[in-house]
Amino acid sequence: MNWGSASEFFAMGGHAFYVWGSFGACALLMLVEPILAKKRRSQALIELKREIRANQDSQDETTS
Amino acid sequence: MLEASNLECVRGEKSLFRDVSFRLAAGACLMVQGANGSGKTSLLRMLCGLAQPAQGEIRWDGEPIRKLAEDYRGELLYCGHAGALKDDLTALENAQISATLAGAPVAEDAARQALRQLGLKGREDLPARVLSAGQKRRVALSRLLLEKRRLWVLDEPLTALDKAAVATLCGVIDAHLAAGGMAVLTSHQDLPLATTRIEQLRLDS
């Protein structure tokens, strides 16, 4: 085990800014990217549903 | 012989037409009709091999045109909406250069002769910039006389032409068909052709 205490772990031997800057950016981007991808899919689904409903409405109008 | 079987054209997400089939034999002429946006130009570009059909196949003498590539293009003359003219070149230079680019260089006399035949006598050495729309069209159509191709694909060839020019053009097309050529045309105007071998293709339905 490399670390005596939690604070030692977070201090990273004086390189905290660089190490946590790297790992933090990595974690952040890897959280954001999948969220954006999922959002893109749900956006596409919403538009699809809207379009289908619009088509159904216009069909109902023509048949009635 | 040009054959098309079950062609489908998709533009964006919309299917413009499907199941378009026809055969065109030597000496015959196909008139493609349809409203604006029905896919006439798309069909013509497909027949040239510029666009790929979403479905179906186009064959020339039994071979798919994709396979024939340059061999097919050597039999083909396409005249689209754009005249492929350079404003900075003279009518004569335009005619000669486009023939050379098409792979069939012509002598200056032949080019002058063709331009004269289309009623451009005296304007051969004027830059295309100063020609009227109809005159430019005639320069573009001079390729019909200069490049010896069996299949003509003409998209709205009558645009901007006056009565005399229409008559001349029809004579040229008739002569081509009588000599065993083929033509695929679109036109919003009536084309007073002498030939009886005209087939209609409607794209609307």
Binding site: M1, N2, W3, F9, M12, G13, G14, H15, F17, Y18, V19, G21, S22, F23, A25, C26, L29, M30, E33, P34, A37, K38, R40, R41, Q43, A44, L45, E47, L48, K49, E51, I52 | G12, E13, Q55, E57, P64
Partner: protein, 253 residues
């Protein structure tokens, strides 16, 4: 006969594929997330708790456990992207073009992470944020190539043309990447620039290699999972007029 077979094949590739692939991808995504999490936890454990402190670089060297995998993945994803692009160009398959499109942002992200962590590693090691090291410079150019690919595809409205144009660009890029890398390397040696080199004792090197490998596996699984998620969105966007999309349960509800 032959042509009929080939049209049937291209039909299968061209139309049936997105329809069958969409639900399949949906089922696979959670598994890849789980794998990414497992490899990630193992990798992080090794990089922080197993790998000992470096004698010269102190704790700062631990950045290598994400810097190197990110660099590897950025190059690997470009290759995979070019492979899908070439497949789409050669066989006119629609799904492969979508795969290439969906991989590009993840590849760009990896290239960006590699540059970011490279800069954060460089500062404590060499005292500057940026060195014109051969690898960092090539990574920068690779990042530009990704940006170019994404920009080109988003500038073209017709998705099929976008796929094909992107494919040509990706293939030109793939031919060029090794040339760029060796040019930059040559240029770097001529100018006696700094270079990242790690010489370690064999046992240390092995732990480090294991950690980097595990992290690379985690990044790999992550890239698959996220690009599958994105490709599902792209399929929905592009195939919205296909009948099968309207019959999907998530659309019906």
């Amino acid at each position: 006969m032959n042509t009929r077979l080939s049209t049937r094949l291209s039909n299968w590739f061209g139309y049936a594929s997105p329809a069958t692939f969409y639900p399949l991808a949906g089922k696979m995504i959670p598994w890849f997330w789980a794998l990414a999490a497992v490899f990630g936890i193992l990798g992080l454990y090794i990089s922080f708790f197993v790998a000992p402190t470096d004698a010269q670089q102190g704790e700062g060297y631990r950045i290598i456990f994400i810097h190197v995998p990110a660099s590897w993945m950025s190059m690997f994803i470009y290759l995979v992207m070019a492979f899908w692009a070439a497949l789409g160009l050669g066989f006119n398959t629609r799904l492969s073009g979508m795969m290439a499109t969906s991989l590009a942002p993840t590849g760009a992200l990896m290239a960006f992470l590699s540059l970011w962590t490279g800069a954060l590693w460089g500062k404590p090691m060499w005292g500057t944020w940026w060195v014109w090291d051969a690898r960092l410079t090539s990574e920068l150019i690779l990042f530009f190539l990704y940006i170019g690919f994404i920009a080109l595809q988003s500038a073209i409205d017709d998705p099929r043309r976008a796929d094909k144009a992107g494919a040509v660009l990706a293939l030109v890029g793939v031919v060029n990447i090794p040339i760029i890398y060796f040019s930059v390397k040559w240029w770097n040696t001529l100018h006696q620039g700094a270079s990242v080199s790690l010489t370690r004792s064999p046992s240390m090197a092995q732990t480090m290699l294991l950690g980097m490998l595990l992290m690379a596996l985690a990044f790999w699984m992550y890239a698959i999972a996220v690009s599958l998620t994105r490709v599902r969105a792209i399929i929905l966007e592009r195939e919205r007029h296909a009948g099968w999309v309207e019959e999907l349960s998530e659309v019906q509800s």
